[in-house]
Amino acid sequence: MPMDILPILASLRRHKVTAILLILEIALTCAIVCNAVFLIGLRLDRIHTPSGVADNELIMVRMSNIGGRSDVRARTLEDLAALRGIPGVRSAAILAQTPFGYSGTTSSIKLSSDQKLPTISYVSTYFGEGVVNAFGLELVQGRDFSADEYHWLQDLNLGLPGSSPRSVIVTEAVAKRLFPDGNALGKDVYIYDEPSRVIGIVRHLVTSQEWVPGQEDYSMILPMRVSPDAGMGGTYVMRTSPDQRDRVLDAAVAKLKGLDPRRVLTQKSTLEKQRATFFSADRATAGWLIATCAALLVVTALGIVGLGSFWVAQRRRQIGVRRALGARRVDILRYFQTENFLLATFGIVLGMGMAYGISLFLVLQYELPRLPAHYLPMGAVLLWLLGQGAVLSPALRAASVPPVVATRG
């Protein structure tokens, strides 16, 4: 054993109140930091949710028409052609939904027409011609829609015969949920009355609105053409290189205004910005939690430094005596390090119980997920390191007390 623990414990017993206060401080810090780090992790995971789309390349322009227009479908194709003509634009499409928006469409999917409860509900549904290309999605199986598979969304909404989609592209998450044991590709599923065949599977496509935890990838794409006045309207989505986004945005707005000056611009944004806005509350919460943790850790470290310094000053004489009786500098250093390790260990053990309690409270009160067990050893290591780091300077000061202090005081 590097340093004998029993006499250190015996000595600590003579300073119970101070020792217990420090243990409580360490315990509370351990408990709060464990939970906070877990909550920060949850927020960061959310913030870093893979969208499946080319986040840094997408820009969006949304216009709203004043008054009705007769030839809207033809005009929309004209708009798209003009946008594709802007230098730097790699693709342009008009889509009804965009990722990290605040609104969207959800549908449920059944595996047979007479199934009572859907196999999967609230699947975020994307409409628009060329979604796969426009977003830059990664197709892992199957193919993209062909031009003849598309129907006008408005016709579907009006219930026109033959307008329901006979094919669908789903995410891997949806495919897995629908057919846990088999391949979804080529299977028929029921979204509308008539079956739609899964013709493609994309790696990721985040939902177009807030999701239930774990279902951020519950999305599908239907082969429907969108026009600006088709119910939910449409957003022009263009892909360009990240450094050209602002310029292309300005050019796109100018182009669209030029084609029809009566339109009103209602959205002009990059997807990156939309994503940032979507997660702003998460970022704020994470920031606040990080600040709280940092403050707690600093206060605890200062507490350890303070108490350590006080104890070293108080025990200066006995340190000198120990040196006189044969302690080496390193023995004195280890004494204070071991003492801190013991205090930290008591605090950590207590703190783990408290961490569990706090977690239980959060689970019951706020329906948060339960603190995973591996956060506890992580918190323990963190506080051990914090303690050793904080006690080092007082411990080194103790080790430098000369043995002559024993005679001179």
Binding site: P7, R322, L325, G326, A406, T407
Partner: protein
Amino acid sequence: MLTMNHLAKVYRTEVVETYALRDFNIDVKEGEFVAVTGPSGSGKTTFLTIAGLLETFTGGEYHLDGMEVSKLDDNARSRIRNEKIGFIFQAFNLIPDLNVFDNVEVPLRYRGMKAAERKQRIMDALERVGLASRAKHYPAELSGGQQQRVAIARALAGSPRLLLADEPTGNLDTQMARGVMELLEEIHREGATIVMVTHDPELAARAQRNVHVIDGQVVDLTEEPRFHSQTSHA
């Protein structure tokens, strides 16, 4: 056992240089019991702290048990203090947070001794100073005389060859002082070398030899009167 030749110790502060010891010469033989006397501030404690390797010196030579002390590093000095030297201080210097047993154990732990041997030695040492029954007491629960006897037990437990005592009875009343002195004499009879600084002429008289220190130097009291008588004849 302990030889100092032309030893010097200077305390330097920004303002003054104090020669605590100058041209200090002493030779203590194995098994001797030497009392060091002298006026306050003459350098007795300084001599003892250097002799006990608690402090370094500024000049001269010091040989302890055949070793040249100035050549030893800090760890070696710690080891020698631990194994060869027992200290008894005027202020007892027991560790207040530890009970009597744990106090006596301190130097033994630094020696890395096994628990069974430690316990044996601690109880033997406490037996010798008559305090075996107080092993679980804390220093604050003991009288001054008892505390000093615990300190002696602590010094004895490691069976040191050299015992250094700085006014061991300075904080004790006469009766307690006598008890401590008898204990030191007994330890000496069993073979230890003892160097004791004292103010008390009665105690000094019980040592085998007296060394008188004035102004940081050893003065030979036995030769001085002869010197005077010779001059008076002249």
